[in-house]
Amino acid sequence: MIEVIEVTKRYRLGRMEVAALRGVTLEVSPGERLTIQGPSGSGKSTLLNMIGLLDLPTSGEIRIQGKETRKLSELERSRLRNRLVGFVFQRFNLIPYLSAWENVALPGEYAGIRRRERRARALKLLKSVGLAERASHLPAELSGGEEQRVAIARALFMRPALVLADEPTGNLDTEAGRRVVSLLRGINAQGAAVVVVTHNPEVGAIGTRTLYLKDGRLHLPLE
C-alpha cells in the first residue's frame, strides 16, 4: 500500500545541514501493524510525516497505492491525506475551541460531508472509544487519556486505510496508555494498516513487524 524508496530528508539549521533520514526504504502492506522504534532524534517522526504526506522528502520517492506522491500538487496531497491517512499525535493536537465531537468531525469538513452526517458519525466514533457522554466537552475539560481517545476517533473519521500514530502514549499514564494501545489494535483488526512510532518497548510490542531507526538509517527488524 505504501512504498518508501530511498528517502532522504535534510534540514538546514543555520549554516549546518542535518540529515534526518538517509536513504530509507520500506513498505507498508494493507492491514499491517508496523512499529518504528528508535532513540530520540533518530528521525522517527520525520519518517512518519513523510509517509503521511505532511512533508516532502529531499530525495527518494513515496508511493501510496501505486501513486507517486512527489508529482502530486499540494491540493492533491491534501485530499489524499484526508481520505487515506489518519493521524494520532503525541500531544493529541485537538483544537482547543472545538468540542470533542467537532474535533472528531473535522476531517469531514474538508471532505465536504454535511454537518448532520458529520455529527452522527462523530458521536458513533466517540461512543466506540467510550466517550459518548463527553461529546460536547472542550479539550480543556478532558483528561489526557480522553483527549487521546478523541484524537484516535478523529483519525478514524474518514475510515482511513492507514493510521499513523506518533508516540501515542507518550503523554499518558500507564492505564490510559494501555487503553490507547488496545484501541489501535482494534483499528487494525477492522482492516486499517497501523504505523506506530514509539520508543516505548511496551507499545512497540503491538507491531506485527518492528523497524529500528538510528541516525536516520533503517536497521533490520529487531529479533
Binding site: 512533508d55 499525535f89 474538508y110
Partner: protein, 730 residues
C-alpha cells in the same frame, strides 16, 4: 529586515507613534499660530473696538453726537462703496465713502500726505495698492484721480490683516460722488451704515448704549470679526487636531497589537523567567519598561520630525507652549497600549507558559483584540467617509453654483464701474465675440431690475447647450421655446419660495404686462452674487428689458490656449471702442474656484491624515492576522494534517479578516451617515451629498485592507504541515 522581525521588534508600532507625535506637534502648532494671529491683530487695533451694522444709514452729525457720550471715545463710519475697473490696468478698486477720522480710528497710518481736512472737502486718500497700480513709485499727492485731488496714501496693510487689508485696494473719500457706471446703485448720499466705535473704557458699556440707541443693530467685538475671517482655517485646524489625536489612538492600538504578538512569541521565555523566580510584577515591569523605551525613542523621533516639518511649512507655528506637552501627552495616551499586553503576559502561570499554553484565546469567538481592531478600522473608514462626503459636497457646491460650467467658460460683461466712460454692452456686441477663433458658443443674457427689486433676464438659445443653471424643479428652457417664441420662463428658487409658486398649479408671472408660464425653478442659493436673476425667459422677449445690462457666457473649444481667445476678445473691444472701458472678461469659474479652493486644500491636508490613519489601521489589521497566525499556527497545522488544503486555510483567514472589515464598514457607514451633516456644516457645505456616494470608496478601502491583511497568511500556507504541528520535527 523581514517583515516578521519588524513586527517582533515592534518597529511598526514605533513608526505609528512617531507619525502620530509628529502630526500632533504640527497641528497644535498651526492651532497656536491661528490663535496668535487673532490675538496680534486684536492687540494692534485695540480690544475696545466694536463694529456695528446699523439697520439704517445714519448721518455724519449723528455719529458725531455719539462721540460726545462718556462711554465712547471715537466713532467712524463707512458708507457705500463703488467698484471701478480699469481695462488699461486690468485693475478693480473700490471708492469708499468714509468719515474723516476713519484712518485714525482704524489705526491705519499714512505713507504720504495728510488725512482728510475741511480745506480740501473732495480730497481722496488712496490705498497702497491703488497707488502702486496707478502711480507706481511716484508720490501721487497733489495729483488728481477722477477729477479729485489726492491728499494722501495709506501705508501698506499686511495681507494677513484680514479685516483691514481691503483698504489697500480702496480710494477713501468723504464726499459722495454721482455714479456713472451701469451697475452703480444710486448712492445713499450721506449715510453711514457700518460704523466702528472705540469704547472709552469697557466695550460692554458702549455695546449696551449702542444697542439701546440703535435697536436691531448687529454688534461685533473686533476679536470676533477677526476670528470670523479666520473661522474656516480654525475649523480646519480643529479637525486636524481631532484627526491627529485619532491617529495617536490608532497608534496606541497598533502598539498594543505588536506588543501582543511579540509577547505571545516570548511566552516560553516568560515561563522560564517565572520558573527562575520572577514574580508577575517583575514580568509586568520588565515589559512596561521595554515598551516605554520604545515609545520614548519613537516619540522623540516623531517630535524631531514634527519640529522639522513645522519649520519647513510654517515657522510661525513652532513653539506654542502646549507643544511642550506633546511627548508627555503621547506617553500618557499610549500607556494602555504598553501596560495591557504586559499585564496580560504577567497573568500567565509558569506551567502554562512553559507548555506554551497561554491565556491567549481558547475560544473561537472574537477576542477583545478583534473588537479593538474593528473599532479602529471603523474610525479610519469613518474618517475616509467624512472626507469623501466633504469632497462630494464641494463638488456639489460647484455644480449648484455654476451648473455644468467649467474652466472653459468666460464671463464677458460691462465693468461694474470704471474710471473711464463705460458704454453699455449690448446683445449686438456678440458679433465681436462669436467669430473669435476658439470660441465655441456665446450666450447673451440681458438683465434688468424691475419694480420691487425683482430682476428679469432674457437669455439666448445657447443656454441649453451651455448647461448653465441647475434646474431643481420642472425643466430648463428648450430649443422650441426659442424658435417658437413661447411665453415661458424659469424662476429662481428664492423667488418661487417668496411667491409660493408651485409648478403643478401652472403658475403665471407677468413681466411688463406680458404673462409667462413658469416651467421650471433653478437653484440660486450660491449664484446670486454673479447672476442675480429672479425671472428668466427667452431672448425673443428681450424688448421687455429696454435698458437691460448685457453679459455673455462664452465657451471656448479648449483646442488651443484658453488665454488666446480671451485676449482676442479684449483686443477687439478695445479696437471697436477706443478710450472706453467696454468689457471685463473673467473666468466664470474663477470666483467659485477661489471659494472652493480653500476647502479643497483643507480636504487635501485632511486627506494626508486620513491616509496616515488608513496606513495605521492596515498595519493593525496585518498585526491582527499575524497575531492570529501566531496563536493558531498549530491549529492550522492540525487542519492541514487532516486534509485541509492551503487554500482552505487562506480562505479561513480571509473570511476572518473580511468579518472584521465588514463589521468596521457597517459601523463606519452608520457613523458617517449620522456625523456627516454636522461635519459638512463646519465647512459651510449646505447641500448634503447622498450618503451612499461614499460607499464605493469605503468598500474599495475595505477590500484593499482585506487583501493586504491577508498577505501574511500566505506564509502559513507555504509551510509544510509538518512544520506547523507541534513537536513534529524529531
Amino acid at each position: 529586515m523581514k517583515l516578521a522581525s519588524r513586527w517582533d521588534s515592534g518597529l511598526l508600532g514605533m513608526a505609528a507613534v512617531a507619525i502620530a507625535t509628529a502630526a500632533i506637534f504640527m497641528v497644535l502648532g498651526y492651532q497656536g499660530a491661528s490663535n496668535r494671529e487673532v490675538l496680534e491683530m486684536v492687540t494692534r487695533l485695540g480690544a475696545n473696538l466694536v463694529y456695528v451694522v446699523l439697520p439704517d444709514p445714519v448721518s455724519l452729525e449723528k455719529l458725531k453726537d455719539l462721540e460726545r457720550l462718556p462711554e465712547i471715545e471715537a466713532v467712524t463710519g463707512q458708507g457705500s462703496c463703488s467698484y471701478f475697473y480699469s481695462p488699461a490696468t486690468q485693475y478693480t478698486m473700490g471708492w469708499q465713502l468714509v468719515t474723516p477720522n476713519f484712518p485714525d480710528v482704524l489705526g491705519i497710518k499714512l505713507a504720504f500726505g495728510t488725512g482728510f481736512s475741511p480745506d480740501v472737502p473732495d480730497g481722496v486718500i488712496l490705498g497702497w495698492e491703488v497707488k502702486e497700480v496707478l502711480f507706481g513709485e511716484e508720490d501721487p499727492v497733489g495729483q488728481k484721480l477722477d477729477g479729485r485731488p489726492i491728499i494722501g496714501v495709506l501705508a501698506l496693510i499686511h495681507s494677513d490683516d484680514s479685516l483691514r487689508e481691503r483698504w489697500n485696494r480702496r480710494v477713501l473719500h468723504t464726499r459722495s460722488r454721482q455714479g456713472r457706471g451701469p451697475s452703480e446703485i444710486p448712492s445713499n448720499a450721506e449715510g453711514f451704515q457700518f460704523i466702528y466705535v472705540r469704547a472709552a473704557a469697557s466695550p460692554i458699556l458702549a455695546e449696551e448704549l449702542l444697542a439701546e440707541r440703535f435697536p436691531g443693530a448687529k454688534l461685533f467685538r473686533i476679536g470676533e470679526l477677526y476670528a470670523f475671517w479666520l473661522l474656516p482655517a480654525r475649523i480646519l485646524n480643529r479637525v486636524l487636531v481631532i484627526s491627529a489625536l485619532g491617529l495617536l489612538g490608532l497608534a496606541t492600538l497598533l502598539l498594543a497589537i505588536t506588543s501582543l504578538v511579540s509577547t505571545y512569541k516570548r511566552t516560553r521565555e516568560l515561563g522560564i523567567r517565572r520558573a527562575a523566580g520572577a514574580a508577575p510584577r517583575d514580568i509586568l515591569s520588565r515589559l512596561v519598561w521595554e515598551g516605554g523605551r520604545r515609545v520614548g525613542v519613537s516619540g522623540g523621533i516623531g517630535l524631531i520630525a514634527g519640529v522639522v516639518a513645522v519649520f519647513l511649512s510654517r515657522p510661525a507655528a513652532a513653539f506654542w507652549w502646549p507643544q511642550a506637552l506633546v511627548l508627555p501627552g503621547v506617553f500618557l495616551v499610549v500607556l494602555p497600549g504598553i501596560v495591557f499586553p504586559a499585564w496580560w503576559a504577567a497573568r500567565i502561570t509558569p506551567v502554562e507558559a512553559l507548555r506554551r499554553r497561554t491565556v491567549f484565546g481558547r475560544h473561537r469567538t472574537w477576542s477583545g483584540v478583534h473588537l479593538l481592531i474593528v473599532f479602529s478600522l471603523a474610525v479610519g473608514l469613518l474618517y475616509s467617509f467624512l472626507l469623501n462626503q466633504l469632497t462630494l459636497g464641494v463638488n456639489s457646491y460647484l455644480r449648484l453654483s455654476w451648473g455644468k460650467l467649467d474652466e472653459r467658460v468666460l464671463l464677458v460683461r460691462s465693468p461694474k464701474e470704471s474710471i473711464l466712460t463705460p458704454p453699455m454692452l449690448a446683445p449686438e456686441d456678440g458679433e465681436l465675440i462669436r467669430d473669435v477663433k476658439g470660441v465655441e458658443l456665446a450666450v447673451p443674457i440681458v438683465s434688468q431690475a424691475l419694480q420691487r427689486g425683482i430682476v428679469a433676464a432674457a437669455v439666448g438659445g445657447g443656454i441649453v447647450d451651455l448647461g448653465f443653471l441647475p434646474v431643481i424643479a420642472g425643466r430648463l428652457l428648450q430649443g422650441d421655446d426659442f424658435t417658437e417664441g413661447r411665453p415661458v420662463c424659469l424662476v429662481s428658487g428664492g423667488f418661487a419660495q417668496r411667491r409660493g409658486i408651485l409648478l403643478e398649479e401652472a403658475p403665471m408671472v407677468v413681466v411688463r404686462g406680458t404673462p409667462f408660464q413658469v416651467v421650471g425653478v433653478f437653484e440660486d442659493a450660491y449664484i446670486r452674487a454673479e447672476f442675480p436673476v429672479d425671472i428668466l425667459f427667452t431672448d425673443r422677449f428681450v424688448d421687455l428689458l429696454p435698458v437691460g445690462h448685457t453679459k455673455f457666457f462664452v465657451r471656448l473649444d479648449g483646442g488651443t490656449s484658453l488665454d488666446v481667445p480671451r485676449e482676442e476678445i479684449v483686443r477687439r473691444f478695445s479696437e471697436r471702442y477706443p478710450q472706453q472701458a467696454k468689457v471685463e472678461v473673467t473666468w466664470a469659474m474663477g470666483r467659485q474656484a477661489d471659494i472652493v479652493g480653500f476647502f479643497r486644500a483643507g480636504a487635501r491636508r485632511m486627506g494626508l491624515t486620513a491616509a496616515a490613519a488608513l496606513l495605521l489601521v492596515t498595519g493593525q489589521a496585518v498585526g491582527l492576522v499575524r497575531f492570529l497566525l501566531a496563536r493558531r499556527r498549530m491549529e492550522y497545522g492540525i487542519r492541514r494534517a487532516i486534509g485541509a488544503s492551503p487554500h482552505r486555510i487562506l480562505a479561513t483567514v480571509v473570511m476572518e479578516v473580511a468579518g472584521i472589515a465588514g463589521s468596521a464598514f457597517l459601523l463606519a457607514t452608520v457613523g458617517g451617515v449620522l456625523l456627516s451633516p454636522q461635519f459638512l456644516s463646519w465647512f459651510f457645505i449646505l447641500p448634503q451629498p447622498p450618503w451612499w456616494g461614499s460607499l464605493p470608496l469605503l468598500a474599495a478601502i475595505g477590500g484593499i485592507i482585506i487583501v493586504i491583511a491577508s498577505l501574511p497568511a500566505r506564509t502559513v500556507c507555504s509551510i509544510p504541515p509538518a512544520g506547523l504541528v507541534e513537536g513534529s520535527r524529531e
